[in-house]
């Protein structure tokens, strides 16, 4: 009799617990068949120089200040490059959650750039799995730098223009690791140097590895196919870290490219990592929300 009573006492809490789990289990069952989008493949719309699959969300504006300093191997007289700085200012806006446009101005070649970027495919997990994200990118840049010498023939409007088309294909393999490949086509109406082809194919490889919740290590390489190996150009390569402070994203990096737009870093990188022609640089991204809801006070 005593044993029976003990058994009842011991079993009773278990049955209660079981019943509670069942109620929650019932709720879990309702939600087991959903598809979850994979978010935050990269912290920013750029991996380092090149674009990532990420877009600025609807009614949000990303104000970007990017700097590249002079070459590290320029010696102590130039404070290892810090005396020279090139700048790009960018205003980039999300029209929808998947479509964004941007405009930028670079000191390098006094170039304006205009671009549109569309998120075609989103990686998902859950009921319906899409393994990759795909974003399409198109940009046009106009160099407005006046001829630097008398011998240089002034460019016509047409000859100031360049075009870039990219398919950004990325996969977030885990919370830490994301990789992207970026087939690129660059077309210059009039290249900077004689003997250069107008159209260039390039394949970008990029990735990030999160080392903490807010810091990631990023790397990027653009392999560019050139016919003329006598030209003084190198493939663009960059290494850096992203620091996310909530509101701002700081990207600090080393790269052999001075330009911050595709035309310049893919097409006109003259620095060589091997010789130490490396630039220190940073991008600062600040996102503002123009969503009506943000005006609501809690």
């Amino acid at each position: 009799m005593k044993a029976l009573r003990l058994a009842i006492i011991l079993l009773f809490p278990v049955t209660i617990l079981h019943a509670q789990n069942d109620l929650l289990g019932e709720l879990n069952k309702l939600d087991s068949n959903t598809t979850v989008p994979v978010e935050a493949t990269f912290k920013s719309t750029r991996i380092i120089n090149g674009h990532s699959v990420e877009t600025v969300k609807k009614n949000h504006m990303d104000f970007r200040i990017s700097h590249r300093f002079g070459r590290l191997n320029s010696g102590s007289y130039q404070l290892y490059g810090l005396d020279q700085a090139t700048l790009r200012l960018g205003f980039e806006y999300g029209i929808t959650d998947d479509l964004m446009i941007g405009v930028g101005r670079s000191t390098e070649q006094k170039a304006f750039d205009f671009f549109a970027k569309y998120r075609l495919l989103k990686q998902t997990s859950g009921a319906r799995v899409i393994p990759i994200s795909v974003t399409l990118f198109a940009s046009s840049a106009i160099r407005t730098l006046r001829p630097v010498s008398d011998e240089e023939i002034p460019r016509t409007f047409q000859n100031k223009l360049t075009y870039v088309y990219q398919a950004l294909i990325a996969r977030k393999f885990s919370e830490k690791l994301s990789l992207q490949i970026t087939p690129t086509y660059l077309y210059r109406n009039l290249p900077e140097l004689t003997g250069e082809e107008r159209g260039l194919f390039s394949l970008g490889l990029g990735g990030r590895l999160k080392i903490s919740k807010r810091v990631s290590v990023n790397a990027e390489y653009f392999w560019t196919a050139r016919n003329n190996s006598a030209l003084p150009y190198h493939d663009s390569m960059a290494l850096g870290v992203d620091i996310d402070t909530g509101g701002h994203v700081f990207q600090l990096h080393f790269t052999n490219s001075l330009g911050m737009i595709e035309k310049q870093f893919i097409g006109e990188t003259t620095g060589s990592w091997g010789k130490g022609d490396v630039h220190y640089g940073f991008n600062i991204s600040r996102t503002f929300s123009f969503d009506k809801k943000s005006k609501r006070k809690g």
């Binding site: 929650l24 939600d31 978010e39 969300k57 996310d244 402070t245 509101g247």
Partner: protein, 188 residues
Amino acid sequence: MKRHIVLSVIFLITILGIAGRTFAQGGMFATATGNTRFSSATPLENIDAENRKTQVLLNTTTGEIAIRMTMRDFVFPNKLMREHFNENYMESAKFPTGTFSGKLDQTIDFTKDGSYDASATGSFTVHGVAKTRTIKGKLKIEGSKITINSDFEVALTDHKIEVPSIVFVKIAQSIKVKSEYILSPYKK
């Protein structure tokens, strides 16, 4: 005369009670569109977010209640905040939901219309950390509709939610949570 008034009041209450009984019968009540809001208030910045897809299941016979919400369903005025909330604070890929699974502390007659102060004790899980908590609230029964309102605070340290010193956005150490769940009879 007084006796007559008292009697008619009792009579009225009885009638209303019977009427209520025909609507709210013991059993399962649920919603999938419950509203959970939280706010982090500091002198520098207020952050509000809202989840309109909270799922609630209440067994009026046993007083058991289960609440479940998906962290990614919280809507913020700034989408970057939402990303930080999921990526950095809640780690939503690892811990996708917040749940409460417990039992009402009072025996409430769900067959009677009215408003009751109530509380529920059970396991409250956020960020993968379960805490036994008693959450106070109000229960309102109107026919076949049960409205649950509650107001409570969640301390970040209780659930191992870290706010690093590098963050410029100020986040309160204790988050205020408000919820309103309107339940109707649950059909399987």
